[in-house]
């Protein structure tokens, strides 16, 4: 699935004069987004400013009010090649309470066409120090542990891809944050790109994020 030549580099995400509307409210307008491979874009902004909405636009889950998000020049809504090179981890962890940790992770890897054998899943869980809970049911995990399992998908990514992460540091402890920073750093070094939101300050020295402040794009009244 990821054998196409384009899989060598992360998709170059681009959007110009983007506007997003939720219901009757215009969240932001005239937003320009440029995410070249090998970089991290950190979305900032007050609550309700449209950070999650922008991530969903970038992942191709919803359509913008104005403008278009493109990956390597192709609209993300229509490109299945883009989706093969995308990892979207939303605010919800997408883990089923009645599955074991390994089963839940394997399911997510399988539907996205990633390597999903038990050894791969166990190695990924070990990267986030969840190896000891790999046979536990998801319902027995704490919030932070669930987040770690959801993020373990990132440790499986074979090539440079685009990671779209909604508050990935949420509920993580100091050790979890360090481990996620390691993953992000390794990913960027491989030429992968990341679009993320975080209310915690990022480790600028290690990750050198480009910042976009959504408050600057709020519609003027």
């Amino acid at each position: 699935m990821s054998t196409s030549p384009a899989a060598i580099a992360a998709p170059h995400l681009h959007a110009a004069t983007l506007a997003c509307r939720r219901g009757t409210r215009l969240l932001f307008q005239d937003l320009n987004l440029n995410l070249p491979p090998g970089r991290i874009v950190w979305l900032r902004g007050h609550n309700g400013r449209g950070k999650t909405s922008l991530l969903r636009l970038a992942a191709g889950l919803s359509t913008p009010e104005h403008g278009e998000v493109t990956a390597d020049g192709e609209p993300v809504r229509r490109s299945s090649d883009f989706r093969d090179r995308l990892v979207f981890i939303g605010h919800a962890n997408a883990l089923k309470d009645d599955l074991t940790v390994t089963e839940a992770l394997q399911f997510l890897l399988r539907i996205h066409g990633r390597p999903s054998d038990a050894a791969t899943a166990h190695a990924a869980l070990a990267r986030l120090e969840m190896g000891s809970r790999r046979n536990a049911f998801v319902r027995t995990l704490s919030q932070g542990q669930r987040r770690r399992v959801a993020l373990a998908r990132l440790a499986v990514e074979p090539g440079p891809s685009l990671w779209v992460l909604d508050e990935p540091f949420d509920a993580l402890d100091v050790d979890g944050i360090t481990r996620l920073n390691d993953l992000l750093e390794g990913h960027v070094a491989r030429g992968g790109s990341v679009l993320l939101t975080s209310h915690l300050p990022l480790d600028s020295a290690r990750l050198a994020p480009l910042e976009i402040d959504l408050d600057a794009y709020a519609p003027r009244r």
């Binding site: 939303g90 089923k96 009645d98 066409g113």
Partner: protein, 222 residues
């Protein structure tokens, strides 16, 4: 495409096995509802034989509705649905896999249980066979239609009521021709015409319902 279908189908079956009591609810409802009729109507053989196909079909229809509300709702709430829509494959595969799992967990057990109730209602063996075949052809139609209703009402507060209002009218043809097949056998005629219409309904629903459900799922993700 096959791997997404299989992964999703097998996961739904596995989740149902982990929650056996909940998964059995439609079948239990069916068993209880059908067995109440002889108690309410009275033990006359002729009356029971007359109403049996209708009773079994109506109860099967309602039992299939029971588990529809949760068909996509849980996946929607916990973010799994988003992930399924982001696989780079068509949402139609998701709709087909969920419908198939729903049928395996409700339609199939109902079809297997139906002959036992045929005996309870003192039906002739030929009528029992016709009832079983008609359920086998009709229940997949119900699961496919139900998936459209469940997808359309995702995220709505009164989803349960709306699904019933949306899906029950659409499933009336299956009900009419399903019970009609048994009626034909009892009148000494061939039920092939009814089977053909049920089959045609199934083919038509199989071709149109998954794309409709897929479109509704994509809208729900907006």
């Amino acid at each position: 495409m096959r791997s997404l279908f299989l992964a999703l189908f097998l996961r739904d079956i596995r989740l149902a096995m982990r929650r056996r009591i909940e998964a059995l609810l439609p079948v239990v409802f069916f068993v209880v509802a059908v067995s109440l009729f002889p108690l309410g109507v009275g033990p006359e053989h002729d009356t029971l034989r007359l109403i049996a196909p209708g009773v079994v079909w109506v109860c099967a229809l309602l039992a299939a509705m029971l588990s529809l509300t949760s068909l996509f709702a849980q996946d929607h709430a916990d973010g799994s649905l988003e992930q399924m829509l982001l696989t780079g494959q068509s949402a139609v595969v998701v709709a087909v896999a969920k419908s198939a799992a729903h049928w395996t967990l409700t339609g199939l057990p109902l079809t297997i249980a139906a002959p036992l109730f045929g005996l309870l209602f003192d039906m002739h063996p030929a009528s029992i066979a016709a009832l079983t075949v008609s359920l086998l052809l009709g229940t997949p139609t119900l699961s496919l239609l139900g998936a459209v209703g469940a997808a359309l009402t995702l995220g709505l507060r009164s989803a349960g009521v709306l699904i019933i209002l949306l899906v029950l009218p659409l499933s009336i043809p299956a009900l009419i021709f399903g019970t009609g097949a048994v009626g034909a056998v009892e009148a000494g005629q061939s039920s092939m015409a009814h089977y053909s219409i049920l089959g045609a309904l199934l083919i038509f629903t199989a071709l149109t319902a998954p794309p409709a459900a897929a479109a509704a799922l994509r809208i729900s993700a907006e």
